[in-house]
């Protein structure tokens, strides 16, 4: 049974936004057109596409941060508009509140105080066990992104959305965090929707990979990844799949 059903018949930005970017009146070309996909519980879905193809817009729609589109997002069959506690988001930047400690950031929620035991568990899981009292400015880029992952898991979401979460990190840290995300998602039974421009990342983590074409953003290919975990980086199977995704991307220009 499908956990998340996303249907975006069309998404256009408002006139003002187009105005500001392109400096011309009237035209509002669609950013996304006819994007439909499903996510089953525990599944990891990678979404790749050239920059500017609307993958981040798609993720913002699923997160409920952009309610202005033609279509619907169903969670467990219920149509959703607006943010939902069952959907966690990890952004490209850590987006930690600089005036709160790491633990307070992770437990940031409605009302006062937070579930300290749960925060401590999450921090341990992401490898920040003894940095709960640190301030965000004392963290490295990788540590900050670990804290952001812990924060996204705080509401016990059933789906975790990741918007190019490792693109600002160095290669080694990226590898460690890719493994971490896969492990915690598996441990919590969380489904992942991973938007990325890193094809290898999509193939390494995903059970399926959606290839998005641009102008307007639409699904041009769906590629299943029937490989066992752990998948070896640079192994022949991964390389072969990587080439398939790449040629699909290249064929749409």
């Amino acid at each position: 049974m499908s956990l998340l059903t996303v249907t975006v018949r069309e998404k256009r930005f408002a006139r003002e936004a187009v105005h500001a970017i392109q400096g011309q009146a009237g035209e509002r070309p669609p950013v996304l057109q006819d994007v439909r996909f499903e996510l089953v519980p525990g599944e990891v879905l990678g979404v790749v596409g050239a920059s500017g193809c609307g993958k981040s817009t798609l993720l913002r729609i699923v997160a409920g941060l952009d309610p202005d589109f033609d279509g619907e997002v169903r969670l467990d069959g219920r149509a959703r508009r607006g943010p939902d506690r069952d959907i966690g988001v990890v952004f490209q930047e850590p987006r930690l509140f600089p005036w709160l400690t790491v633990a307070e950031n992770v437990g940031f929620d409605l009302g006062q105080g937070h579930d300290e035991a749960w925060v401590a568990t999450l921090l341990r899981e992401v490898g920040l066990g003894d940095l709960g009292h640190a301030l965000p400015r004392q963290l490295s880029g990788g540590q900050a992104q670990r804290a952001a992952i812990a924060r996204a898991l705080y509401t016990r979401p059933r789906v975790l959305l990741l918007d190019e979460p490792f693109s600002a990190l160095d290669a080694f840290t990226r590898m460690r965090l890719q493994d971490l995300v896969r492990d915690v998602a598996r441990a919590h039974g969380t489904s992942l929707l991973l938007v990325t421009h890193d094809i290898e990342e999509a193939v390494l983590l995903g059970d399926r990979v959606l290839v998005l074409g641009s102008a307007p953003g639409r699904i041009v290919r769906e590629i299943g990844v029937a490989l066992r975990h752990p998948r070896g980086r640079g192994s022949a199977e991964v390389s072969a799949l990587r080439s398939r995704v790449l040629s699909a991307l290249e064929s749409v220009g």
Partner: protein, 285 residues
Amino acid sequence: MSADPDLIARAIASLGPVLPEQPAPSGAPSWRWPAWLLGALPPLAALALIEAAVRLGWIAPHLLPAPSEVALALARMVRDGQLAQHVLASSLRVAAGFALGAALAVLFGALVGLSATAAAVLTPSFQALRAIPSLAWVPLLLLWLGIDEASKVALIAIGAFFPVYMGVASGFRDVDRKLVEVARLRGLGRVALARRVLLPAALPALLTGLRNGLSLAWMFMVAAELIAASRGLGYLLTDGRETGRADLVLAAIVLLALLGKLSDGGMAALERRALHWRDSFGGAA
């Protein structure tokens, strides 16, 4: 008498700019002049020069009294209680005017920063009011409120209002949209969002505004007291001029510098405490 110039020198030295302490480069001699001492050199040299020039008769003492004379005048005022009276009167006016102006500014600044509608309605009017040199209000304030405390406090409040208002409004307006989104994902309502995200994020700009407002409050206090007062440091300035006592005028100036520096230092300490989380140049722990 020899101790008095020393006293003033120390007082003035404390007003000097505080240079950031620089680590000694390796290879250089290990002992260097401390920064505060370097900063104190120019005022100390100037004081010594003036003292010498006056005593040698190069400068007429009724135009520029010797620093030791100014110190004596100050000491006399301390003894007969006049000093405390003047300082207290001025400080109370600054406190009242600043509190009034800053409170209104935080209120309107937050309104304009948080609501686009309020900004559209109020910003043009505030821009126009801000363009009026604040001292132009003096005649009107005197007509409306008389020459007593009310008009002075009102003038100080007007002076303190605009820097605080600008700081608060820009602080709220410029809060990072990305942080606001994080709070929206958790389902925070408008009030919780304002209190838990917008206010802390706007705090640096708010505190800068308050600090600027406080220094302007001191400036407008002097203006208000120069116009009409029977007590206070502005009165001391007028009194000194009218009685030809340059030492009184200089004593008042020294006191104003001290009080201004003291209140600004207090605000700076408050800023450091409230913004310890900030990751900025010079703010690192």
